[in-house]
């Protein structure tokens, strides 16, 4: 893992407007899905982005690749700002930054063959000439992800979930990217297949020097595969640290509660655990709480927490927290 910063996200915001009206639609509010998020990803590392449903992690990933039009902020790949890019410049960035999707059933066009699906990036970026060259390259990619290259002309519905996810990985690799956002790539798979796909991703990272942003809610898997981890809550990053730092010394109360809630497949460890049980439900992102967004459920909240938004501070080398009370 080098020190070169490959991806730089600065003050990213994505709000989804809520509109009402018959003839003329007026905006009456917004879902603040991602609210002022900033972080860096270094070349060769696997950055984890975790949080529960509605925290904005998937939206962050998609907005980073301009799959949603951003509300504010900037995302730089190398020295190029993707939000300012158009036409050929944007296409060149898309070649280098790809995505693996969560749903292996919905992310592949059911009417396209594997050849067409995996070959699409090759055609769009002009990387092959002619259909034979495309088929050959697709077969190479299938072998790379552990699928039988004879399956090029089959349709997605003929494959299992794990195999389809591999097809999605092959597609992401087709344009020879440097950076891949993995948006919950294993959540829809069985346990034993999850391990297959994770091992594959790790092998590919070594082989092809890839940089990953791994978005997930499975904290155990994130500990296994990621180098650094950012924890999100209700549109904001509340803590960011190296893997061992975060898991051994979580500083933000939400991160602490989250980690204590994850089940451990070990009866003795489970019996000894002290769980921090949060009360209540996650507030609505349309109307987030004032000050620190977590204060409504925080076991140690003070009055300042409802009044002022906490600053994003680096408490130790590389360990950042947004909490008034953390030390």
């Amino acid at each position: 893992m080098s020190d070169e910063i490959l991806v730089h996200v600065q003050n990213l915001k994505k709000h989804f407007p809520i509109r009402r009206g018959i003839l003329i639609q007026r905006q009456i509010g917004a879902v603040q899905a991602v609210d002022d998020v900033s972080f860096d990803i270094r070349r060769g590392e696997t950055m984890g982005l975790v949080g529960e449903s509605g925290c904005g992690k998937s939206t962050t990933g998609r907005t980073m690749l301009m799959l949603y039009p951003p509300t504010a902020g900037s995302v730089r790949f190398g020295d190029q700002d993707i939000f300012q890019a158009k036409g050929r410049v944007l296409l060149a960035i898309r070649r280098k930054a790809q995505m693996i999707f969560q749903d292996p059933y919905a992310s592949l066009n059911p009417r396209w063959t594997v050849n067409a699906i995996v070959g699409e990036p090759l055609r769009v970026h002009g990387l092959v000439k002619g259909s034979r060259a495309q088929t050959e390259r697709v077969q190479e990619l299938l072998k790379l992800v552990g699928l039988n290259p004879m399956f090029v002309n089959r349709y997605p519905h003929e494959f299992s979930g794990g195999q389809r996810q591999r097809i999605g990985v092959a597609r992401a690799l087709a344009s020879d990217p440097e950076f891949i956002i993995c948006d919950e790539p294993i959540s829809a798979l069985d346990v034993s297949i999850q391990a297959q796909v994770v091992n594959l991703l790790e092998d590919l990272q070594d082989k092809l020097t890839l940089t990953y942003l791994f978005i997930a809610h499975d904290l155990s898997m994130v500990r296994h595969i990621c180098d650094r981890v950012a924890v999100m809550y209700l549109g904001k990053i509340v803590e960011l640290a190296s893997k061992d730092e975060l898991y051994n010394h979580p500083l933000h109360p939400y991160a602490q509660a989250l980690l204590s809630a994850v089940p451990i497949p070990d009866p003795k460890a489970e019996r000894q655990r002290q769980r921090i049980i949060l009360t209540g439900d996650v507030p609505s992102p349309v109307n987030p709480p004032s000050g620190c967004r977590f204060h409504t459920r925080c076991p140690i909240a003070q009055s300042i927490c409802s009044e002022q938004e906490p600053q994003w501070r680096e408490l130790m080398g590389g360990h950042w927290v947004a909490c008034h009370l953390a030390q």
Partner: protein, 316 residues
């Protein structure tokens, strides 16, 4: 607990499920085949096509248009199995040539509707926003114009303006073109709405997001990604649209506003029969039966297609 974990390299799974590979089209065909009425309808349509095409080899067009008032208004006989009409023409032969035009009109009108309807529906559904607003208001405006009124006015106004033309050595009345365009332009709206709703929902699908992430252009996404996945309701609607177009042509021609001489259609054969409804029933019976059989057969096929292409029963 000691576990050695070793991943086996290159986990190739050499056998898929025991079923042979089937394209989505093959799967749909299989389901269609199970629908007995649909297969029956398909058979009828094939027979009809053989009738109108093959019949032209049996009866030259001259024969169908051969006026011989001395044998006019004769009932079915061995010389003229369907009888003769008011100017002595053989009805059987006329149903052959009339059938060609009626079917042609049906297919061509639907083609016009498809081109316009799919284009408008796709643009509307995919881009949304003000494009959708304008196109849909336009569509609704067109829907509000009564069909009959539009057809009558357009037929009356345009009917004489387009000249007869020659194709394949045969002469056709210009009114054929007029009717095709009019029927087509009056039925695209339903198709547009269907296509629009398909595009609205499909554009949110993750494979479309994946295509955008790859860098695929909007046009390519609409045409190659979304459209192939929305053919099911389009095909069903278009198929039933052919039946509808044939019926529409029939009653327009019956009213005297449709296809003119020298071209025969089942519809204008009915018009000729108007004065002889009770005295010479064979004048309307045979063309009427042709229309009935055709429309029925198309509806059966349409039903079968609807079930065969139903996405809820797609293999998953």
């Amino acid at each position: 607990m000691a576990t050695t974990s070793e991943a086996l390299p290159g986990i190739t799974e050499d056998t898929l499920a025991t079923r042979e590979p089937l394209t989505p089209t093959q799967l749909a065909w299989r389901r269609f085949r199970r629908h007995r009425m649909a297969m029956f309808g398909l058979g009828l349509i094939i027979l009809l096509i053989v009738y109108v095409v093959g019949g032209a080899f049996v009866f030259p067009e001259k024969f169908a248009n051969f006026v011989n008032t001395s044998i006019k208004l004769q009932g079915p006989s061995s010389a003229h199995p369907f009888g003769t009409d008011a100017v002595g023409r053989d009805i059987l032969a006329r149903t052959v040539y009339g059938g060609q035009i009626s079917l042609l009109i049906g297919l061509a009108a639907v083609s016009v509707a498809l081109i316009v309807g799919v284009a408008i529906g796709a643009l509307s559904g995919y881009y949304g926003g003000w494009i959708d607003g304008i196109l849909m208001r336009f569509t609704e405006a067109m829907l509000n114009i009564p069909q009959l009124f539009l057809l009558i006015v357009a037929a009356k106004y345009l009917g004489d303006k387009i000249h007869n033309f020659e194709l394949f050595g045969r002469e056709f009345s210009g009114s054929v073109i007029v009717i095709i365009v009019i029927i087509g332009l009056d039925s695209w709206m339903y198709l547009a709405r269907i296509v629009r709703s398909q595009f609205l929902s499909l554009k949110e699908q993750e494979f479309v997001t994946a295509a955008r992430c790859t860098g695929t252009s909007n046009v390519a996404i609409m045409f190659y990604h979304i459209l192939p996945n929305s053919v099911a309701p389009i095909i069903v609607n278009a198929t039933l649209g052919v039946a509808n177009a044939i019926l529409t042509e029939a009653y327009i021609s019956f009213l005297g506003l449709g296809v003119r001489q020298p071209t025969a259609t089942w519809g204008n054969m009915l018009e000729d029969a108007n004065r002889y409804l009770e005295t010479a029933p064979w004048l309307w019976f045979f063309p009427g039966m042709m229309i009935l059989i055709t429309v029925l057969a198309i509806n059966f096929v349409g039903d079968g297609l609807r079930d065969a292409l139903d996405p809820r029963t797609m293999v998953e």
